[in-house]
Amino acid sequence: MEFGLSEDQKLLQESIGRTLEKVSPLERVRKAADEHAAYAGDVWQALSELGVAGMLIAEEHGGMGMGLLDAALASEMLGRHVAPAPFVATAVMAPIALAGAGSKAQQAAWLPKLASGEAITGVAVSERAAGAREGAGVAASGGKLNGTALFALDAAGADIFIVADKTGGLHLVTGDAKGLTRIALTSIDLTRPLGELRFDNVEAEPLSSGDAGAALKRMVDAGRVMLAADTLGAGWAMIEKAVAYAGERKQFGRVIGSFQAVKHMCAEMAAELEPCRSLVWYAAHAFDTMPDEASLIAAHAKALTSETGRFVARTATEVHGGMGFTDLVGLHYWFKRIGLNRQLLGSPERVRHEAAVLQGWAAD
């Protein structure tokens, strides 16, 4: 029995963290955000060189053949550094979809390019994972897609898309397909742009070689664990910044970190967030080894980490006082990152309902 990280996993996480510290400091994040960039190409390249793009892709397709726990450790670092880089869709959800439901030819055509970081895949499954807003939804018929998909992930710079239709079928669409319109959605978080996709008789290849329904479920489970890990990393970064600020800022002749009112805010953040680490690890491990539990724990990890993330984001901002509210300190990049993670792929209320359904406590 060992519930912890291996030496290799610790080294992997450290090396991703060190790289991001170098290539994605706050000035770089700020620049990407100011430009409304699809993503920071230099950051993505550095991550790809470390193998992050192909972590979950089998070695026969040029990837590293790692597990979801490894990907969660990477995601935690991306959140910690509010990295303006694609990840959840292109490096996690798309490879799972292609491996689970793609044909040999589709896998051979795309997985090596995803593994090297050369191609980016957007994923449009919001209507199936978070609920369809009025007017949204994609219909598939005769190899053509029609309709609208909202909140597509890693969409801005995507070369291909994986799209879920209204019945849960999965489709592969190239970014330059005729009839496809890509609209940027501006969210609070400018480090990871969202997209709207409009389909007007767009040619699509179905991903129908395996069980597409099961593949969609796996993609969403994995995506939820990644978003939870991202919030874990972003949340701990905010706690550390709050502790550091409270150790420097003086009022009434003392550093404010010596006031119990401030210290207790920091203690509460740490005490609430640290158990989420164990939940994220377990969820990732369950995804790889315990299929019966995977969806339930993924839902719990997403919901609890989102709720805790919201508490940490506001409390860490308050510890910074007025400076936390400014653009100058840039704390808001973490605040907004956590805010976006909470809503994507199912809000806490929605995923808790799914957790109840999975246990037979509620009707679907």
Binding site: M1, G4, K263, A270, H285, I297, P348
Partner: protein, 397 residues
């Protein structure tokens, strides 16, 4: 990451199960009363003999004498919990005094006290807190003044659980009034039958006297009954408190409660609808389930660190604060879901679970305060875990 125990441990699990199958019927039905009954003592002896409690305590002191193996301890706990059997006596003598004597006692003290304590024959209480010394325990004022071969003790202790049923007390007293506050304390062990000791029950909000006040008037204790020497009591107490904090906030208790509430919400109805079908209560249940899982997995993480001899750092410091709060919130959900029935108590008609949910809700608040208040825990987390500065001492007026 590997959640399987492996063949050696699965073989051990099979042994534990075989014991339970063979002897489970002999387990006492009532457990946890302050003085172990004869039935409980028999069960305790059987468990020690089979290495299922007092497992790592050396044979010469009445234990089983196994090498420490935290995974085997966990397997025992898992199997006994699954079978609904009591695991052995877990009073303050066994969980706090015995480890302290093993670490710091003289050979004579170990020989004399550990074995009968383990067997449940000698019951101990803890004399630490005083009316004026709670969170600031080191300010304690109970005095022990030298008189020949004895100390003469005067003062008062409070929050002394099981004092009325105890044979012995381990007690912090001030022996060196001139020394700095942390350096003037000694740790004494003496009989509760010593003349001059008065025990008064302290009734709490639950309606029960879970604690006592203990008054000392010219209580004469031989000097040799000190542990680790004069002025070292604070050091000894910290060694002991480490053992107590490990007991508070156990996530497996939260797991058991979660299961009870889940069953309750499936069984109870309001307006003919099961509570589990009420979306608001159900959402609260699922939200708490996530927290229980998180703390259980957190426990696995701490267990792994302990097995490897690693310091888990801040992860360890949060357990008391989070675990006690979680238990309290679980009790709150059960009360809320029960509606008006949730307020019934004592022996009322329509009472559910013998009034356990209200009792737990109140008693848990005591646990949030006791054993280091939530606020003291937050000081510890921020100062030791996050490296934040201590509160400066107020300037002397």
């Amino acid at each position: 990451m590997d959640l399987a125990y492996g063949p050696e441990y699965e073989a051990f699990r099979a042994e534990v199960r075989a014991f339970i199958a063979q002897h489970g019927a002999q387990a006492p039905r009532r457990f946890g009363v302050s003085r172990p009954s004869e039935e409980t003592q028999n069960w305790q002896r059987l468990l020690i003999e089979h290495g299922l409690t007092a497992r790592t305590i050396p044979k010469e002191y009445g234990g089983y004498g196994a090498e420490p193996d935290i995974l085997k301890s966990r397997i025992i706990a898992e199997e006994f919990t699954a079978a609904g059997l009591p695991m052995g006596i877990a009073n303050q003598g066994i969980s706090m005094l015995v480890p302290t004597l093993l670490e710091l006692g003289t050979e004579e003290q170990k020989k004399k006290w550990i074995a009968p304590t383990l067997r449940g024959e000698v019951v101990w209480c803890q004399g630490y807190s005083e009316p004026g010394s709670g969170s600031d325990l080191a300010s304690l004022q109970t005095k022990a003044v030298e008189d020949g071969d004895d100390f003469i003790i005067n003062g008062q202790k409070i929050w002394t659980s099981t004092a009325h049923a105890s044979d012995m007390i381990f007690c912090l007293v001030r022996t060196e009034p001139e020394a700095k506050k942390h350096e003037g304390i000694s740790y004494l062990i003496f009989s509760m039958q010593t003349p001059g000791i008065e025990v008064r029950p302290l009734k709490t909000m639950t309606g029960h006297a879970e604690f006592n006040e203990v008054f000392f008037t010219d209580v004469r204790v031989p000097k040799k009954d000190i542990v680790a020497g004069r002025g070292h009591g604070w050091f000894v107490a910290n060694a002991t408190l480490k053992h107590e904090r490990g007991m508070l906030g156990d996530p497996n208790q939260a797991g058991t409660r979660l299961k009870e509430i889940t069953d309750l919400m499936h069984k109870e109805t309001m307006d003919g609808t099961r509570l589990i079908d009420h979306p608001v209560y159900r959402d609260r249940l699922v939200a708490l389930q996530a927290r229980v899982f998180a703390m259980q997995f957190h426990g696995l993480r701490l267990l792994t660190a302990a097995a490897k001899g690693e310091d888990p750092g801040i992860a360890r410091l949060i357990v008391k604060l989070q675990g006690c709060e979680l238990n309290h919130q679980l009790a709150a959900l059960a009360i809320d879901a029960l509606g008006e029935i949730g307020v019934l108590y004592e022996d009322s008609p329509h009472l559910r679970a013998q009034g356990a949910w209200q009792h737990r809700y109140m008693f848990d608040l005591g646990l949030i305060i006791g054993g280091g208040t939530a606020q003291i825990q937050k000081n510890i987390i921020s100062e030791r875990g996050l490296g934040m500065p201590r509160e400066p001492k107020p300037a002397k007026a």
